[in-house]
Symmetry: C2
Subunit: 432 residues, 2 copies
Amino acid sequence: MAELPFQSLPGFRDFTPRDCAIRNYLFETWRTVARRCGYCEYETPMLEDTGLYLKKSGGELSGQLFRFQDQGGRDVTLRPEVTASLARIAAQHQRDFPKPLKWFEIGQCFRYEKPQKGRGREFYQFNVDILGEAGPAADAELIAMAIETMLALGFSSDDFMVRISDRQAWLGFAKTHGITDEQVPEFLSIIDKLEREKPDILAAKLAAFSLTVDQVRGFIANPPADASPASAAILADLGARGYGDFVKLDLSIIRGLAYYTGVVFEVFDARQSMRAVAGGGRYDTLVATISDGATDLPATGFAMGDYVIRNLIEETAHAAMEMETWLQRNSRSCEVFVVVADESKRDDALRLVTTLRRAGISTDLSLNRAKVAKQFQSAERARARFALVVGQEYPELKLKTLSSRAEESGPADTATDWLTQRLQAPDGPLLA
Amino acid sequence: MAELPFQSLPGFRDFTPRDCAIRNYLFETWRTVARRCGYCEYETPMLEDTGLYLKKSGGELSGQLFRFQDQGGRDVTLRPEVTASLARIAAQHQRDFPKPLKWFEIGQCFRYEKPQKGRGREFYQFNVDILGEAGPAADAELIAMAIETMLALGFSSDDFMVRISDRQAWLGFAKTHGITDEQVPEFLSIIDKLEREKPDILAAKLAAFSLTVDQVRGFIANPPADASPASAAILADLGARGYGDFVKLDLSIIRGLAYYTGVVFEVFDARQSMRAVAGGGRYDTLVATISDGATDLPATGFAMGDYVIRNLIEETAHAAMEMETWLQRNSRSCEVFVVVADESKRDDALRLVTTLRRAGISTDLSLNRAKVAKQFQSAERARARFALVVGQEYPELKLKTLSSRAEESGPADTATDWLTQRLQAPDGPLLA
């Protein structure tokens, strides 16, 4: 086919039905698990005042923004993330809700990055946050939710691991080693690249802080017992909940520098062959920052994007099979395909379609006067379970199970009843 | 409270949990009806090449675009509608699907308009289209779907009406009265404003075409029998389907000029007190236009926004009640609230929470060591149905029905089983 004049923009996806169904599988699983764990859904605007994002992240994302002036001259940005808006909304509305707020959101975010495997310029994100509870029980509750999400997607403890770290542990380390508050961001960015930096450069960078690589590695490998009381409490809580096999302390996890204040965590595939599947942590000062101190609300949250998790599902046989089962069940375009075998009965067929649909039965028919064989072909292509034939025997209807070719029959005036029964039964003749 | 430093942009909404639940009620109803009628879901990018929209609409929307240059210097626009992208995607992928394509989409669109009741700068839209079928049966199938959507939202034939018109009828009228093809858009825009224009101005405008207001009104009131064979066929089809009470021919309906080619329709509240609730029609040339002729696919579709329909629901008692029932059922933040009455049993309570959630039971608990009365208060606020008390009697659990205060008890090791039963039963003691 010749090049078409319009394509989707680089890094933006078209979701034709199968891709949309996979997206919906993620959405449904995310939503189901969130509700099961007591979270309420909210949504934020796609477009916000650019200042909101700059204030939150201190410019960390500023090179990746879809930022522009709207027709009213406002400096606006397509949301690169949701937490800044959440903080804005929480500051404004928190009095209307009992604490803690356990809220989740599912929606698209936009970052101008180089498109590559596991990353586009738009992506869907599942955001889960607990606001108004400062204790480690909230972090444990949140991490439990992240684990339940992975389990609901068909993963087991062999497939993934949650690595927990603590910004406070590193602040303590920094203090002990005479690193000033101003130097901390630079120091943390060195730790963040510990495994990716060339050894000599790493050593030189640490030497500037009078530190050796061994000292840092030693702290990560054997942190002092009092390095992170919060993560100890969280690990104990998660152990009691039955999640001991899924979590471990790993101080090499740093995450973005701008706004985390305490425990942070990331979910990785067991082989660590991909970017983090999900990540988050405590951000106790963000609501106050965004509201200029009007509202002070401790908070912890995590996000999971749709790119990496989809890749991990597709590369993990049992998770892929679970998704495929869901897709099979949810991607029929109808359950019952009405075949008009006698055109003089078309009006009866049309009325029957209305009746079945009104009763909640997914029903379709050919929109033109096609031959019966062609209509059966359409039924197959729609992946319908049954063909319901309206022919000269009407008001007697023939029902064909398309997988087995088994044939039954039943009266039109009670079709809703016996078809509903039939659809709930496993395949095989019912009215024979 | 002092003015907060950040607000949402004018015309953009924050969806706190109740508003988000109302949005989800619309989404779920739309999705359910679409699947029931044999449509598959797709999604298009939020951002597209601006040229795509300009090509589709001939500039009709160009004053309302959120249009900007991205970091790569591309002229891009936040989608003001979805049909242009659908045409682009259909042109590219239609060979992969049996015809007709019956596709639906639910998502946000953006137009820079003056925010007012029933209109914002963002809105959700439900898009339903049939591509690849030129006959009137496709239009009837589509209009049937629009009606089913209204019925599923709790409206009856007293609440709304579908008014059907036909671009071809007006082209015929224009030809009869010597109006040239070039003049047709201007002529149609006069008809479009027939009821809103001042009588003398209207008369003057029509006089320029050697027409009187009476001639035009007469054509609308008593169109010749052959004015619109397509709408006659569609009305007959809809009558056979049982929708006769919901539809009428009304040639005063014009809709946007740019791309409709045949029958168009709008859904109005019975009192016509609001803007159209939904509207659409046939656009047989759009796919060819967007693909520079590479793909030619007849098409018909409609869209329903979330603003007007929400207003109409809230102003229609029985529809509002139906929505409220759904909201009650779906806005609990949990079903079961676990109350820790003896802190020495907290670990048992945590494990119980994990077990119940894993079994699909929506469960929550207090994240700090609150007094029992306070925990019950939290349970009430979460609108839980049951409080499950873990106290010194553990592994015996107490179950309190929060509405009736009825109390039962049961063993922890089979809690999943009896709670599942209990949740499916109407309220009242089960294990007494």
